[in-house]
């Protein structure tokens, strides 16, 4: 479904991604893991068009998207739940969800999708008229995930969805991600919470200093000696 081929990405003169390739097949949960500054978020931003690769190409459903304007990608079926939630703080929960469904079929089915989101996160239904800037961190993350789902994506990308959340909420978010996958949405997830991520991922890529150093099935990567010592602390 998503094919990233040999991309290089730079911020100005500083190159941070070196010849990275990976793929996400339909229906899979794929994880990109790595330490701070390994380039995980940069890769997601490049896929969603906020950054341009200096070299290489990105294909979505067999067609190239690395030159497409960022705002067109959501119509093609890619949703990006960014790091740090990036909600619109001066808008209510309902309005934030609206912004996820501005285009095409998502616009037509807005109220129906909203119901699905509220069933997934019942708490949001109670808070629907509240400004997002006043929500707790966990609630904000729920809105961010919900806003991503409002576009009825085929591929949803999560950037550090568990960042800054209490353990019980982390568990809930991961549970929701598996439910999203059961609905038939393909998932690409970037995480520092390696243990829980590998438990739900079909396949994983390990990034170090902007390069893919290891790839394989989730369990296989979790069993790797290097990953065990460097990321799982075993």
């Amino acid at each position: 479904m998503l094919e990233v081929r040999h991309i290089d990405v730079s911020y100005g003169d500083v190159q941070v991604i070196w010849d990275v390739s990976f793929s996400v097949r339909k229906g899979e949960v794929v994880a990109l893991i790595g330490a701070n500054g390994a380039g995980k978020s940069t890769i997601l931003k490049t896929v969603s068009g906020l950054l341009r690769p200096g070299k290489g190409e990105i294909l979505f459903s067999e067609s190239p998207i690395h030159l497409t304007e960022a705002f067109h990608l959501i119509e093609k079926g890619i949703a990006h739940v960014p790091e740090g939630r990036r909600l619109f703080p001066e808008m209510t929960v309902d309005e934030n969800l609206d912004t996820g469904s501005l285009k095409g079929t998502a616009r037509a089915g807005r109220e129906e999708t909203r119901e699905t989101v509220f069933n997934l996160f019942p708490r949001l239904r109670e808070r629907r008229k509240q400004l997002c800037g006043t929500l707790s961190g966990g609630e904000q993350q729920m809105v961010a995930v919900g806003r991503g789902l409002m576009s009825r994506p085929r591929l949803i990308m999560f950037d550090e969805p568990s960042l800054g959340l209490a353990p019980i909420l982390v568990k809930e978010i991961f549970h929701v991600i598996t439910r999203i996958r059961e609905e038939g949405v393909t998932v690409l997830i970037v995480e520092q919470n390696v243990k829980q991520t590998l438990a739900i991922a079909d396949r994983a890529y390990v990034l170090e200093n902007g390069r893919v150093v290891l790839e394989g099935a989730g369990a296989e990567v979790a069993g790797n000696e290097h990953v065990k010592t460097a990321y799982l602390g075993i």
């Binding site: 969603s48 068009g49 906020l50 304007e69 960022a70 705002f71 067109h72 990608l73 959501i74 119509e75 949703a79 990006h80 960014p82 990036r86 909600l87 619109f88 703080p89 001066e90 808008m91 309005e95 609206d98 912004t99 996820g100 501005l102 285009k103 616009r107 006043t134 806003r147 576009s151």
Partner: protein, 309 residues
Amino acid sequence: MSSAQLEVLLQTLISGLLLGGLYALIGIGMTLIMGVMKIINLAHGELMMVAMYIAYGLFTLFHLDPYLSVFIAAPALFVLGVLLQRFLINPVLKVDSILPENQVILTVGIGMVLANLATVFFTSDYRSTPVDYATKAWYLSDFWKGSPIELSLSFPWSISFLIAVAITIALWFFLAKTDTGKSIRATAQDNDAALLMGVNVGRMRVITFGLGSALVGAAGCLFIPIYYLYPDLGGQFTLIAFVITILGGLGSTVGAIVGGLILGVFESLTATYAGMGWAPVGRFVIFIAALIFIPGGVVSLLRRQKWGR
């Protein structure tokens, strides 16, 4: 306080509020542009001046009532704003090495060009649209025979105020209820997140600049029946819009409304109690006081109230 003093105070407050309603409309235009583009549009007053010349031209050529020229001048200013944004400001925004300050300087330049073009075409003579209802007013004693004090409500000022309120409500509806309005607010609050939601951020900037220009253009048409017109009038109103934006809180529409009303009332009070010539001084005093005591603007106070609960 004697009834005469009370009369003066109430009359001053009334004219202050009426003036403040128009100021709010000018301020909203600037704050919208500020919110979405993160730059202060220092050609704002000059855009208003252009709209006023349009209204003046329509009045002298076709005897069109200035209030009706809102329907022509505001769309014309929308187009002018769109063109300015599309062909002058956007190309400068795209160059990474240029600081945001340089875009502000560009708007100063646009303002100068507009003011000088107006001087070339219309000379620097003072103009006005002498409408026959200019001095019409309602008096309190007409409605309440035994009233101990006498207050008057100027007809053109009241109409201007009511139209300004109507436009503000329409704008609120547009921003709060339509998808384009939500996209504009989303762009103002988080540019990258808006892009990820499929908002064509570049187009929103163009629409917003057009909208801000149309709003100040409408304000110009509402001002001309009660004011006079000359090419350099823009600078003064740019300053007023700037003060309102700072007073209200950058990028906040509610703040601009409150800021506009405060400034209107304050100017009216200085004009009554310190003399006409002191009104601009009052404007600066309130500007500096806002910067020192409420750096986030009125909206930051409102927000603190709401979130403290």
